[in-house]
């Protein structure tokens, strides 16, 4: 479903983000992206959302080469991709429900439809009852759940998570990863970049290891270290 074909990304300042990467992720997979700092994990994810354009090569999402996407088409690509970040990126002035509804508004759904879907997805991530709370009033783990809810409320094909547990204590980190697994089991492809050794080693999922912009290891039931 996602194919990187000979993709290189050189940033304008000359630093190498990706160096001839080839990678295929099929529908329904759960992939850990690991590697030292600066190895290109975030760059790889940013190419999928077309936050960056590859310098060379093709990035296929579905069957389209999104390197060739016109500006106008980008929003419609992004509605099919959910993204979760280490720092949650919630809007502090909106409530939990509003933060999630935010992602639906751009689709111009009816109020009723929005309310139904938000309730459904908050229930899924275990935040039913916290609709009216503000991000400030929530623990880090709860905030990350909100941001996951926002990412999946549009029923995306794929969920990208860039170090979603970097700001969380080990226990909370586990809860989040379990939630991602649940979402994966319901059919969404998940790609998660992480430094968390314990989680990667325990979960025994596909691991793609990167170093200096290249994929250096790809194991179906991998661990953090070689």
């Amino acid at each position: 479903m996602i194919h990187f074909i000979d993709v290189s990304k050189i940033y304008p300042n000359g630093s190498v983000g990706l160096d001839r990467v080839n990678l295929t992720v099929e529908k329904g997979e759960f992939v850990f992206l690991v590697g030292p700092s600066g190895s290109g994990k975030s760059t790889l994810l940013r190419l999928i959302t077309r936050e960056e354009k590859p310098t060379e090569g093709k990035v296929l999402v579905g069957s389209r080469n999104i390197a060739r996407l016109r500006r106008k088409e980008i929003p419609y690509l992004r509605r099919r991709i959910g993204v979760v970040f280490q720092d949650f990126r919630l809007l502090p002035k909106l409530t939990v429900a509003e933060n999630v509804a935010f992602a639906l508004e751009v689709n111009e759904l009816s109020r009723k439809e929005i309310r139904r879907r938000v309730a459904e997805v908050l229930d899924l991530v275990g935040l039913a009852g916290k609709e009216r709370a503000c991000p400030r009033e929530l623990s880090g783990g709860e905030q990350q759940r909100v941001s996951i809810a926002r990412a999946i409320v549009n029923n995306p094909l794929v969920l990208l998570a860039d170090e979603p547990t970097g700001n969380l204590d080990p226990e909370t980190s586990w809860e989040i990863v379990k939630l991602l697994e649940t979402i994966n089991i319901r059919g969404t492809t998940v790609i998660m970049a992480t430094h968390n050794e314990t989680i990667v080693n325990t979960l025994q999922r596909r691991v793609v290891a990167m170093a200096e912009g290249r994929t250096v290891r790809d194991e179906v039931r991998g661990s953090y270290q070689q």
Binding site: K72, P75, R79, V83, R89, L91, A103, E105, V106, E108
Partner: protein
């Protein structure tokens, strides 16, 4: 985009303005004031234009006839000169009457005069100010014409001056428009920066450019319209203040009545306000969209 969404985004623009209300209000106040100055420049400009036109219409030559010349023949000759629009005949008697009026109290002086010393006169209306000197020269060559008199350079200089002030007032208007545009851009840019995070998230969840831009455009339009409306009222008020005093104070300068100026100014300001809002917000959001 659906109407309901558009309504929602307009509401958001309004909310933005209210949220940063300190700055929004300051901006509106200052744009209003700037628009008042702009409006007064417009008023000045309209007035100068009408003044110029009315002065130009008053352009006239006075042709004095020699005693005993044929009034009709000279009239024919004058009428046939190119650029002459019309003639008015003032007889010796009428001319004396005019002088009597001009002298006012001291006109008793004229009673001492035995014979009317004034000549028959033709007042010649001319199409354009530039033609006057040429026509005067030609008129002088007509048999029966004693002398030709006109405002010479002085009128031309007045027109020149009116022109200069007109141009300066247009320049003033452009300057003020640019300044207000800059204020709108910077005010909205501050809102944009304050909502940078939100814009980034919006983009991430798949909002189109139009969707992201709309609240800011509405914010700009609100700002422009609010300022323009207030400014129109203030400009009207100021103009009335001037109108009350000007006619007696400077009777030699005709001033346009309110009805001939205020509606145009109001419409112009409202139009400029909307334009300002749209251009200003467009410019300030653009950078954060690409």
């Amino acid at each position: 985009m659906k109407i309901i969404t558009l309504g929602k985004l307009a509401g958001e623009g309004m909310a933005n303005l209210r949220a940063r209300s300190g700055m929004g209000l300051t901006a509106i106040t200052i744009i209003t004031l700037a628009f008042v100055v702009l409006g007064l420049f417009l008023v000045l400009f309209f007035n100068l234009n009408s003044l110029g036109t009315s002065l130009a219409q008053k352009l006239q030559l006075r042709v004095f006839l020699t005693d005993g010349a044929s009034i009709e023949t000279v009239g024919e000759s004058l009428r046939s000169l190119p650029g002459v629009e019309g003639l008015e005949f003032v007889s010796k008697a009428q001319a004396l009457e005019e002088l009597r009026k001009q002298l006012g109290e001291r006109s008793e002086l004229l009673d001492l005069v035995e014979e009317n010393p004034l000549p028959h006169t033709y007042i010649v209306r001319v199409r354009e100010a530039e033609l006057i000197p040429g026509i005067a020269e030609e008129a002088k060559t007509i048999v029966g014409v004693e002398e030709v008199v006109y405002g010479r350079e002085s009128l031309g200089k007045v027109l020149d001056f009116i022109n200069t002030v007109s141009i300066l007032s247009v320049v003033g208007m452009v300057i003020i428009f640019l300044a207000t545009l800059f204020i709108v851009v910077n005010t909205i840019r501050l809102t944009v920066i304050a909502r940078k995070e939100e814009i980034a998230i919006r983009k991430l969840v798949g909002a189109t450019d139009a969707f992201i831009r709309a609240p800011f455009v509405f914010e700009g339009i609100f700002m422009g319209l609010a300022s323009a409306s207030l400014a129109s009222l203030l400009a009207d008020f100021t103009y009335r203040l001037v109108l009350e005093r000007a006619p007696q104070a400077i009777p030699f300068l005709p001033i346009l009545p309110r009805e001939a100026v205020v509606p145009q100014v109001t419409l112009s300001l409202l139009g400029l306000g909307v334009l300002l809002g749209i251009v200003g917000s467009w410019v300030s959001v653009r950078k954060y969209l690409r």
